[in-house]
């Protein structure tokens, strides 16, 4: 089963919920898809085993063959190629790696080379397997790295995907193909606003989902009202407690120091399993 953890708003506790859930289960493969700011390893303290570069294909122009017709620049929707009468300028960081320029060049002057945009990291913590991606600082495109992280999925394990915040392409890429998505929110106007946007995304994608309310007790009751109206299951509430916040700040998953929570996360997962029917 593949379960993704998402939120819309950042900092609601996705990683904390994902890690604590993972530590309460067995045979987990944990994939941190927040490749811009991967944080799960800071809580899991894994033993890392290896790294693998993530490359994308970008164009190289053979100046001897190029007659500066400009068809490649005209074709490129991402403004990654500029052609003047004497020169071809490439902006590889803008390239989406579609390969179109290679196809449209009438002189066959364009080939592709590999360009590194990030790294995959592999490790383990007990019987938990961790894979996370890390986008190189200054690189704009997270999606190819997320795709690479997800290629590591082992469906015979319980797969937990930790999503980046937001509702745009990196989130879509992460939650795509999940059996279930756990939405972590906080009971504030910000939490509710961003939850609603994320719900819309998941409804469009037809991925079943439920809500975990983190920092329960702060804020107001509107998240609960919204969930009731929309018949969205509230799977778990994690109360706001200074102890939980302090443990998090030190990089300690709270279910380790407060083992009663392991049961709660197990129940949460059983609930998810029931909702998925697996």
């Amino acid at each position: 089963m593949i379960v993704s953890i998402a939120s819309g708003k950042g900092g609601t506790g996705k990683t904390s919920v994902a890690v604590n859930m993972a530590l309460s289960l067995e045979n987990v493969q944990f994939l941190d898809c927040d490749v811009e700011e991967p944080n799960a390893h800071l809580l899991l303290h894994p033993k890392m085993s290896r790294d693998k570069p993530v490359n994308i294909s970008v164009p190289v122009v053979n100046e001897k063959l190029c007659d500066h017709c400009g068809k490649c620049a005209e074709f490129c929707k991402y403004n990654a190629i500029f052609v003047s009468s004497e020169k071809v300028l490439l902006f590889p960081e803008l390239c989406h790696s579609c390969g179109g320029c290679v196809i449209v060049c009438p002189k066959k002057a364009i080939s592709e080379k590999q360009r590194r945009i990030g790294t995959l990291k592999f490790g383990s913590a007990g019987d938990l397997e961790l894979v996370y991606g890390e986008l190189e600082v200054g690189e704009p495109m997270a999606v190819p790295i997320i795709r690479e992280v997800k290629r590591q999925i082992k469906t015979y394990r319980t797969v937990i995907l930790d999503s980046p915040p937001g509702t745009s392409c990196p989130v879509i890429e992460t939650v795509k193909g999940s059996d279930f998505c756990v939405l972590v929110t906080e009971p504030t106007p910000f939490g509710l606003h961003d939850l609603k946007i994320t719900v819309q995304v998941l409804e469009d994608m037809r991925i079943p989902f439920g809500v975990v309310v983190n920092r329960a007790g702060i804020g107001d009751k509107k998240v609960y009202e919204y969930c009731r109206e929309k018949r969205i299951p509230v799977l778990l509430e994690v109360p706001f407690q200074r102890k939980i916040a302090e443990l998090y700040s030190r990089g300690i998953p709270f279910s380790i120091e407060m083992p009663e929570w392991k049961e709660n996360f197990k129940t949460l997962f059983d609930e998810v399993r029931k909702l998925v029917g697996k």
Binding site: K9, G11, E36, L42, G99, G100, V137, Y248
Partner: protein, 287 residues
């Protein structure tokens, strides 16, 4: 005219809470919410929309079913897995590159414009505001951020504002890059947690990469004073100014529930005073 971007790396560290207060404290500022896929600033600033613009981001491929011979070349060449087995386009996956249109032997595929969101020009009690909303699940938020920043610039020129305050998205990817490029300072809001510190370091490297002068604010600094000290000494070693240390105070959530900027809702509290002091320090470094 100066531009300040509030960013964080890690989400939920308090960017929007702080930006909203800056909007109140600043006189003659234009405010730009560049977190276009989960914008929250409007919740606190209550903008009145003056103008709405359609945002057309990436185009979308469309297959003419009648002309299509189902040869499969488009599926083979599409690197985004955007063409389904029954030869339909998956809009979420399509990046509008146009490869399918050139490889199709019977010209059955065309690119069409799609509205991927909306940009807004608004008025608030505290000045003009440029903001936007990306349609859920759409791509290319970087381009929409650029549109918001252009709108903010026009507003600033028209209203003779001397500063644009930009609320950035979390992360370090394309929308963040679009939010920080060419600004006069980037205020990184962090928290004294392992994740906060890890992401602060990456956000600072991003600013360095794009040549943006960095400033740091530690929010909820008293939740873990050891970590706060680590951040302070790290910043000192790297000659980065820590312009604010905001204490933890539940009144921040209370202000949020009452949908008001904290400096308005709870003026005189330790949090409000610290944010006001921080704003003064930022202004003096911008001069």
């Amino acid at each position: 005219m100066k531009q300040l971007t509030v960013l964080s790396g890690k989400g939920g560290t308090g960017k929007t809470t702080i930006t909203a207060s800056f909007a109140v404290l600043a006189t003659k500022a234009v405010i730009a919410d560049c977190d276009v896929d989960a914008p929250d600033l409007h919740i606190l600033l209550h903008p009145e929309v003056i103008e709405t613009q359609e945002f057309k981001g990436l185009k979308l491929a469309v297959i003419d079913e009648k002309a299509c011979t189902e040869c499969g070349l488009c599926r083979e060449k599409c690197r985004f897995e955007a063409i389904t087995e029954d030869f339909k386009i998956a809009p979420v996956a399509c990046e509008g590159c146009g490869v399918c249109t050139v490889v199709c032997p019977v010209n059955a595929i065309a690119l069409v414009e799609r509205v991927s969101g909306h940009a807004y020009i608004s008025k608030t009690k505290y000045g003009f505001m440029a903001h936007a909303l990306l349609s859920p699940g759409e791509a290319n938020s970087g381009k929409l951020v650029t549109l918001v920043r252009q709108n903010a610039k026009i507003l600033a020129e028209k209203s003779r504002s001397d500063i644009i305050i930009i609320d950035g998205p979390p992360g370090i990817g394309c929308p963040v890059i679009a939010s920080v490029s060419g600004v006069d300072a980037g205020l990184v809001v962090t928290e004294p947690t392992m994740s906060g510190m890890h992401d602060l370091e990456r956000a600072l490297r991003l600013l360095e990469h794009f040549g943006v002068p960095p400033l740091v604010c530690i929010n909820m600094y008293d939740v873990n004073k050891d970590n706060t000290n680590k951040i302070v000494s790290f910043c000192r070693e790297n000659s980065i100014k820590v312009v604010g240390k905001i204490p933890f105070n539940p009144v921040v959530t209370e202000a949020l529930v009452n949908v008001k900027p904290i400096v308005t809702y709870a003026s005189g509290t330790d949090v409000a005073e610290e944010i006001a002091g921080m704003w003064k320090r930022i202004l003096s470094t911008l001069k």
